[in-house]
């Protein structure tokens, strides 16, 4: 899209943040332009072209904008700036550094640099003169919050190159030249540590994208145990308002075994982002002992921030994720909520008077969502090293109805489904993931099964399926009891029901606000599951149905005390001992 002269234009129409611009030269779909309003420059993106008219969505309020205002097109798409210093930053949806903005209120037309240009980085060369390199290959690395941040051949460079020179180990700013590479024709390119990439295009600087096979530990039992997600996997969490989507995502982002965590607060509450600002600097990353903020990037485009920038924000987050994946890191990306992103698409599509699909969403919603989810994944880079982006999005179904377009489209794209149930949330059974409806397709992958049997236990898979079976049969028993009455069914129905309650209370339910219970390593999950399954295998003596409930309540109570105790501690063992004694009392 290189042009000699910048295309310009002038505003002819304004409908909220949709602006019609008459142009005097070539424009590209999704090209960025700036509209002059007094001494402010409003950034906008081309979303449709009809004859001489470019329809642009403005990333700002258009209040006061008049027809005739000057527009200048930039010759590039919406891009992010990639380089060392992105970790721990708080960006808006267009990658403006929010901390660099002055004042309490956001100012229209204020754009800030995502990087720190003055900071000196300890650079170590990784390539040497004579090496043959292509886009994404590592030339050197700097230490970013103790993470090896690779400086790569820019993704935009096509074809292959020879390294002519790499600067020696030392301190450099991101704009210092660190390498010279030469193409086939002998043309030289001087490189610094910064590159740009258009957010709506996937970075494909990798050799291979196999099916994901490694478990991504989240410490959340009803995910890891029942429906695990993999490194490089995709999942989504739909649920009516207030059922715990955000709490669950925050828990995962605190605990998961990832090198980099990207949180995209997309059209949700500002106070929830503030919670992260307050909590993460205090919390330790259990693996590195450093603070959680150091591995985290926050993209905050909350519900009151401009809608078009909300649409961009998830792409900004994903592109940053792809950048870090290319360094051979394990990236975990969360978006809360992808429904708000879909709504941003809907608002714009309505203003464009496009033919609407179901619920007035754009016709191609499903394709857009699939395309986005497909950017996640486990890859082998050109040097053979693995990297991954695991993506988990929340969905906020209108009216809590899972048959609506965003949920349905996402179901086609994501491999794990963590459906939150209103009934479970109402009865405070958190996390409210419905154990019957939810699924992880990864459990069916032979490579995942093999990984689990090797790394968790050799009977893990059958244990998990058995637990699911008990939950299912417990639900059936409960339905019978409700229909026929406590006395109307054999005592064995009560026992079956309470055995499923045991799994529910001990494995599924987990207190996100308790330090110990909140995070359960997979070893501990394995221990607890087999302990619980042992109990479900026992047969007990009961004289009447009331005895079943009160006995199982005691068992559950002791198990829960174990959940609240440090694994293997004296306290833990004491409760375990009490449990054994209790079980002996009634065993047949």
């Amino acid at each position: 899209m290189e042009r000699k002269d910048k295309t310009t234009g002038s505003v002819t129409g304004i409908i909220a943040n949709l602006v019609i611009v008459e142009v005097n030269g070539p424009v590209a779909q999704n090209e960025i332009c700036f509209i002059t309003l007094g001494d402010e420059q409003l950034m906008a993106e081309v979303i449709k072209v009809v004859g001489k008219n470019a329809y642009v969505q403005v990333f700002e309020s258009t209040r006061g904008l008049k027809p005739g205002s000057k527009v200048e097109f930039q010759g590039h798409l919406l891009e992010v700036t990639l380089g060392p210093g992105i970790l721990s930053r708080n960006y808006d949806g267009l990658q403006n550094d929010l901390d660099k903005m002055e004042g309490i209120f956001l100012k229209r037309g204020e754009y800030t640099d995502p990087l720190n240009r003055e900071k000196l980085w300890d650079f170590k060369p990784l390539a040497k003169p004579g090496d043959r390199v292509i886009a994404g290959d590592w030339l050197g690395e700097v230490n970013e919050n103790d993470m090896p941040h690779k400086i790569m051949v820019p993704f935009k460079m096509e074809g292959s190159y020879w390294v002519k020179k790499v600067v020696p180990e030392g301190q450099y700013t991101v704009n210092d030249k660190i390498a010279v590479i030469e193409d086939e024709e002998g043309k030289e390119f001087e490189l610094d540590m910064v590159q740009k990439w258009p957010v709506k295009i996937a970075i494909k600087a990798y050799r291979e994208k196999p099916r994901p096979f490694r478990l991504l530990e989240t410490g959340v039992r009803c995910m890891d145990t029942l429906n695990p997600i993999t490194e490089g996997g995709t999942g989504f969490i739909p649920g009516p308002f207030g059922t715990g989507k955000t709490v669950l995502q925050h828990a995962i982002s605190k605990q998961a075994e990832a090198d980099i965590v990207i949180i995209s607060a997309c059209g949700e509450r500002a106070n929830e982002v503030v919670e992260i600002f307050y909590e993460f600097p205090e919390l330790d990353d259990p693996r590195t002992g450093k603070k959680l903020t150091e591995r985290t990037i926050i993209i905050a485009n909350t519900s009151n921030m401009p809608v078009a920038a909300r649409e961009a924000s998830v792409y900004t987050a994903m592109t940053i994720g792809e950048y870090y994946r290319s360094m051979g890191l394990r990236v975990l990306m969360m978006a809360d909520s992808t429904s708000r992103w879909a709504q941003a698409l809907r608002e714009m599509s309505n203003r464009l008077e496009e033919l609407p699909g179901p619920d007035a969403f754009p016709m191609d919603l499903s394709a857009i969502i699939s395309n986005f989810y497909s950017r996640a994944g486990y890859v082998y880079l050109n040097n053979g090293k693995p990297g991954s982006i695991t993506f988990i999005g929340t969905v906020s179904p209108a009216g809590g109805n899972l048959k609506e377009p965003v949920t349905e489209s996402t179901r086609k794209a994501a491999r794990c489904f963590y459906g939150l149930s209103q009934a479970r949330a109402d009865s405070k059974r958190y996390p409210a993931i419905d154990p019957i409806d939810s699924y992880s397709k990864y459990l069916e992958y032979p490579e995942v099964q093999e990984y689990l049997e090797k790394n968790v236990s050799d009977h893990w898979l059958s244990d998990v399926l058995h637990a699911k079976d008990i939950l299912y049969r417990g639900k059936e028993a409960q339905e019978q009891i409700n229909i026929l009455g406590d006395d109307g069914v054999p005592i064995s129905f009560h026992e079956r029901y309470w055995k499923s309650e045991l799994i529910d209370f001990v494995i599924l339910q987990q207190d996100a606000f308790d330090k110990i219970d909140a995070v359960t390593p997979i070893k501990r999950q394995q221990y607890m599951l087999s302990k619980v399954l042992d109990v479900t295998e026992m047969s007990f003596r009961f004289d009447n149905f009331e005895a079943v409930g009160s006995y199982f309540k005691q068992i559950i109570n002791l198990f829960k005390q174990m959940n609240y105790s440090e694994f293997g501690s004296g306290q833990f063992e004491r409760y375990e001992g009490e449990l054994q004694a209790l079980l002996k009392e009634r065993m047949n």
Partner: protein, 439 residues
């Protein structure tokens, strides 16, 4: 209305709908206000020279040769301490017979707070109502609506909350308020001797519905003045947001926009979020807390208005008539304050979280017992006790006429636990039981 700054006068309307007019005009800015036939209007669409205006009071009787003049600015409000104690209409004009307010002119609908400048909401708001303070504690900087059926006393409860909430200023944004309710608010505030802390922007049922669209922005512009410039704790009451959303749908339908669910505009979520997200704890100490009312039709919370609201606000409060005690209670199951975690057990007594959960769990058991009873099954002894507990819990704690401090609420809960249950049935952490159990 001031007229001196008005530029050119146009007299040819090309289109008139129930809520909008269109004319050819030059040099007009988006969002700008105009006067059409003496009525306030705002620019909502510009295509070439065709400018479409939304006329707030409706277009009845507007002729095609009506005079139109543009003000060259968005809607504004004059802010100063003189606002205190005054009553205004949706345009910010006094309706209490008092003088015009002098002060700095501000555009309404100001930009958002930079999220990194926000502080975490952290100050408990005590209301004396146990259904709120005990089970759903409110915090400054929070936004929360009452979800209520139209026949429930939500405005009364809201007035009560406002007066007890030790706010520096209370700003009432009334939308489609009945004249009786308007006078009720006025009286209650007057009798409480609180008028000098109150500012009201009111659109009553007598006023045209589209005018309501200005009310939240007017109220919040005033709120930002006191919270930012004066570092005050400001409480904003918005009633009824359902009528606000109805007005949004009137305008979007008139503009031929494609409706989404329940005939609401596709932008409903963003439109409501823009208002509710004005709730904030500022770094300089001031705060804006929003308590709103969203009336339901037939208790249906899946309707687009309550549904979108629930996705935006930090919880919701349900009122319900408890037929057992014949009083209105704050429903402990469906109500939720999402920010309560920030204060309970920290700014309140240590046993608060556990007592709250235990009581609600026991109350839930009573509901199961009642279902059994109604289905003709026998009740166990435990069932009987939960029913007795529920009755007293409703009467002494959940009813909205309760007015005690939080420690007393906790003490009452322990008394009820001791009266009806064993320690094992209450299942609260042992160290708390040792400290607080009452026989």
């Amino acid at each position: 209305m001031e007229t001196q700054s008005f530029q050119k006068i146009y007299t040819r309307l090309t289109n008139i709908t129930k809520a909008t007019v269109t004319l050819k005009a030059d040099n007009v800015g988006y969002d700008e206000i105009a006067i059409v036939d003496g009525r306030m209007a705002q620019v909502v669409k510009i295509i070439g020279r065709d400018v479409t205006l939304q006329v707030f009071s409706g277009t009845e009787g507007i002729p095609t040769n009506a005079e139109v003049s543009f003000a060259g600015r968005p809607p504004q409000l004059k802010v100063s301490d003189e606002l205190a104690g005054r009553f205004f209409n949706a345009y910010g004009e006094p309706i209490d017979g008092g003088p015009e307010v002098n002060g700095e002119t501000r555009n309404i609908g100001s930009p958002s707070v930079n999220p990194v400048r926000r502080r975490q909401p952290s100050n408990l708001i005590a209301t004396g109502i146990a259904g709120i303070d005990l089970n759903n504690s409110l915090v400054t900087g929070q936004k929360i609506p009452f979800f209520a059926d139209p026949d429930q006393p939500y405005n009364q409860v809201m007035a009560l909350v406002a007066l007890r909430a030790k706010a520096d200023k209370i700003i009432l944004g009334g939308m489609g308020l009945s004249n009786d309710d308007y006078l009720y608010f006025k009286n209650v505030f007057d009798n409480a001797g609180a008028l000098d802390r109150i500012i009201s922007f009111v659109n009553t049922t007598d006023n045209p519905p589209v005018e309501r669209l200005l009310v939240p922005d007017m109220a919040l512009t005033a709120a930002e003045y006191f919270a930012v410039d004066k570092n005050e704790a400001v409480l904003v009451l918005l009633t009824d947001m359902t009528l606000y959303a109805d007005a949004l749908s009137i305008v979007s339908n008139r503009m031929d926009q494609i409706p989404s669910k329940d005939s609401m505009p596709g932008s409903l979520y963003s439109d409501l979020a823009r208002i509710y997200e004005k709730a904030v704890q500022f770094p300089t100490g001031g705060s804006i807390t929003i308590i709103a009312v969203t009336t339901l039709s037939g208790g249906d919370i899946t309707h687009a208005i309550p549904d979108n609201t629930g996705y935006i606000t930090e919880g919701q409060l349900f009122l319900r008539r408890d037929s057992e005690i014949g009083k209105v209670i704050v429903d402990p199951f469906r109500s939720l304050s999402r920010l309560k975690q920030l204060v309970i057990g920290k700014q309140t007594r240590e046993d608060h979280p556990q007592v709250m959960n235990a009581a609600i769990r026991l109350f839930a058991d009573s509901v199961n017992a009642r279902t059994k009873l109604e289905n003709g099954f026998d009740l166990t002894d435990y069932d009987e006790r939960t029913l007795e507990f529920a009755r007293e819990y409703s009467l002494k704690l959940l009813a909205i006429d309760v007015n005690v401090d939080t420690d007393t609420m906790l003490d009452i809960s322990w008394e009820l636990f001791g009266k009806f249950f064993s320690k094992a049935e209450v299942a609260i952490r042992e160290n708390l039981v040792q400290k607080f159990w009452k026989n």
